[in-house]
């Protein structure tokens, strides 16, 4: 891991965008409270709103210094404060890594290869992602730009070929559900965007990171989520709610002329997103381990991160209700809010107090 090997904001946010794409395509119906179709679309708009709001501390944090990451800035304030932050982000990264691995395991072990050992697929994916992570953020960033092309092609293909099946009657009257349910669904969806916390951790690896880059990325993510929800509602209607992976069901229906049954190829493209997402998480974990122990033992820390994710995901893949309970629990939003809003705000406040004391 060489600090002079920085990636461009475009490569960085492409990496994060693909990472969020995987969370979106493996969205499991029934995790949040089931809303009527139009209210699901409204909830997606709230997701965007929450993402914009929660990005404010991150943007302010970068405004002051967009060269050092939060760990370095915290260590300038207090070594113990830095260690606490390290531990928190490590827990967050490993938690999100475990959840991603479980989603991946359920996805491959159900719609792709039913009745097969999901743990085996997770193991293979972790091995591939570790390799990417060990190659460094630069190679991941470069790969992400290449992978973005087939991913966008797949998404455009899935969305545009469904126009014949799109039925406005599948949309319900807006606000059929309670406003609190819609807002809470939007917030839970926003809290799945753990990538927002990675921005302040990976700042040292990105050239000239600006607030507008973050808002552009959030806009892209929000537009994608909104389009997905609109197409899902218009094409599948309530059927989407019956499917474990509604986005996969949508891709099964995509066909244009003689080009049909491309779901296998589309699924493979999505798996590339999974590999990148887990690679970013492993990279972040390894970086945090290094900061925590003050040693650069990349292979060891990568192996430890993989082991934690693997052994954390095994009990969950065999217990889907336990997994859903975990996702529904406040753990997700608490980690998100703390990592994205609380810690950067506290760090900025601490910096300000220390500066004033110096003055």
């Amino acid at each position: 891991m060489e600090l002079n090997k920085k990636i461009t904001p475009f490569q960085f946010f492409t990496l994060l965008f693909l990472s969020r794409v995987f969370a979106m395509v493996t969205y499991i119906a029934g995790i949040n409270k089931e809303l009527s179709t139009t209210d699901e679309v409204i909830a997606s708009a709230f997701t965007g709103l929450f993402l914009f709001l929660s990005a404010v501390p991150v943007v302010l944090f970068l405004k002051r210094d967009n060269e050092s990451g939060i760990i370095k800035r915290a260590s300038c304030l207090s070594e113990s404060f830095s260690k606490i932050i390290c531990v928190f982000y490590l827990i967050e990264a490993l938690y999100f890594g475990t959840i991603t691995a479980v989603r991946f395991g359920i996805f491959t072990g159900s719609v792709m290869f039913p009745d097969t050992n999901m743990g085996f697929f997770i193991f293979i994916m972790l091995a591939a992602s570790s390799y990417i992570a060990l190659k460094g953020i630069e190679s991941a960033g470069r790969s992400s730009v290449i992978i973005l092309i087939p991913v966008l092609f797949a998404l455009i293909f899935v969305f545009t070929t469904q126009s014949d099946d799109f039925d406005l009657l599948n949309f319900t009257h807006p606000f059929t559900d309670k406003l609190t349910d819609i807002i809470s669904s939007g917030f839970y969806s926003a809290s799945r965007t753990g990538e927002l916390a990675f921005i302040i951790l990976l700042t040292p690896y990105v050239k000239k990171l600006k607030g507008r880059h973050i808002y552009l990325w959030i806009s892209a993510v929000t537009i994608l989520i909104l389009i997905t929800e609109i197409v899902l509602a218009g094409v599948l209607g309530r059927f989407g709610g019956t499917q474990l992976f509604s986005m996969y069901s949508l891709s099964v229906l995509a066909e244009a002329g003689f080009i049909e049954r491309l779901d296998a190829i589309i699924t493979c493209i999505w798996l590339l997103c999974a590999a990148l997402k887990i690679a970013v998480i492993i990279f972040v974990s390894e970086m945090l381990f290094s900061s925590l122990f003050g040693k650069q033992k990349r292979l060891l820390f990568t192996a430890i991160s993989c082991a934690v994710i693997f052994f954390g995901s095994i009990p969950l893949i065999n217990n889907i209700s336990g997994f859903i309970s975990l996702i529904r629990s406040p753990v997700h939003p608490i980690l998100f809010i703390t990592g994205v809003c609380v810690i950067p705000s506290v760090t900025m406040l601490y910096e300000r107090i220390k500066r004033r004391k110096k003055e």
């Binding site: 719609v111 009257h173 209607g237 309530r238 499917q243």
Partner: protein
């Protein structure tokens, strides 16, 4: 050197393909092409006719014109149980991803039908776009009809697609059916299949004779071919097709080139009012007059008016019968009401609401071409 060793190890994995469990090989799979579901009311069991593609053992040298499929019949309390017994009998694993058709016999209606389809919604490898059709009589009879060297399920699938393109049949896939069932206010429609003996000299053939309207709660209702076309006009599903009408004892044939239906909902006197406007573009392809005289402007106008009147009459007829008389909402009127006027939500499922619905059908027909004839 390390890279070379790694490359050799990875390449050598290709020689391990024989270590893959046998159940993933195609000859050890039951490649399902179609499934017919009937219900044995005496024993309270689902009776499944599973059409499986022959994946091996065919010997073309013997010169036999053997069927490309094998039909298995199994029974079970549930669909899963029946399929499971099929696996036990054949020693093969089912593969649903190639399944083209699910045909429901006339004994599989109401909740029994929903329970049967539940399996296909939950089965991971079953596709959401598999066609669903209803059989007049037993589904097994339809699926086991001898159709020469063709795969019957594939033939039925092609026929449904072709008939739908020609506005003769509805086209219902699994996800549409489930979606409308979950909506609870609407009924869904399935193409109605029947065996006929009037098409080919030595044998039977499968024909789409109309539509079956079904719901979880009500008894099924059959629509004729003409009613099906009128229903498709109302639902804005007419793409192309043919139509004929009589003007002054002369039969005129049309090709439908394009049709657009706009349904507007409003509330008049506290009751829902639907204005259904159809704009249909046609080509006159046959003018059954007793001479080859040129076509007059007046003839054309009369033709357009007569065609419009005929379409409107059929549409009003199917609305009167299905909606008013049979109280079966295949037109998703209640969904439209709930979507636009949520104040009706309290009585959205009541039959009184259906009775109170008022509608008006307005059809305009424009003839684009008149064949090779000149205009007077």
């Amino acid at each position: 050197m390390k890279k070379v060793i790694l490359a050799v190890i990875l390449t050598s994995l290709i020689f391990l393909t024989s270590c893959i469990p046998q159940n993933t090989e195609i000859r050890y799979r039951l490649v399902i092409e179609g499934i017919g579901i009937d219900y044995d009311t005496e024993n309270d069991l689902y009776e499944l006719t599973v059409q499986v593609l022959e994946t091996g053992n065919s010997d073309p040298e013997q010169g036999k014109s053997s069927s490309p499929v094998t039909n298995y019949t199994v029974k079970g309390k549930t669909i899963a149980e029946a399929i499971s017994s099929l696996c036990e009998n054949t020693g093969k694993y089912p593969l649903y991803s190639q399944n083209r058709m699910i045909i429901l016999g006339s004994t599989v209606t109401g909740e029994r039908m929903i329970k049967a389809l539940n399996f296909f919604v939950r089965e991971y490898t079953s596709r959401p776009d598999v066609f669903i059709a209803a059989a007049e009589g037993k589904a097994s009879d339809i699926l086991t009809t001898e159709v020469g060297s063709e795969v019957p399920a594939k033939l039925i699938e092609s026929e449904i697609e072709l008939c739908h393109d020609n506005s003769l049949s509805v086209n219902t896939e699994l996800y549409n059916t489930v979606n409308l069932t979950l909506e609870s206010t609407s009924c869904f429609t399935l193409p109605l299949l029947e065996i006929t003996e009037d098409r080919i000299p030595d044998g039977k053939t499968i024909k789409i004779t109309g539509t079956r309207a079904c719901s979880k709660r009500t008894d099924p209702l059959n629509l004729s071919a003409e009613e099906t076309q009128a229903y498709l006009f109302i639902m804005n599903e007419v793409k192309t097709g043919s139509l004929s009408t009589d003007i002054n004892s002369t039969t005129v044939g049309f090709d439908i080139i394009e049709s657009k239906t706009k349904t507007t909902l409003s509330i008049e006197n506290e009751t829902p009012f639907f204005l259904i406007e159809v704009n249909c573009k046609v080509d006159v392809i046959e003018f059954g007059a007793d001479s080859f005289d040129s076509f007059s402007q007046n003839d054309l106008k009369q033709t357009e008016t007569a065609a419009a009147e005929q379409i409107a009459k059929r549409m009003a007829g199917v609305l009167d019968r299905v909606l008013k008389k049979e109280k079966c909402d295949i037109f998703r009127f209640r969904t439209r009401i709930a979507q636009k006027y949520p104040e009706f939500n309290d009585k959205i499922n009541s039959d009184d609401l259906l009775s109170s619905i008022d509608y008006k059908v307005r059809v305009t027909v424009d003839a684009g071409r008149i064949g090779q004839m000149t205009m007077r």
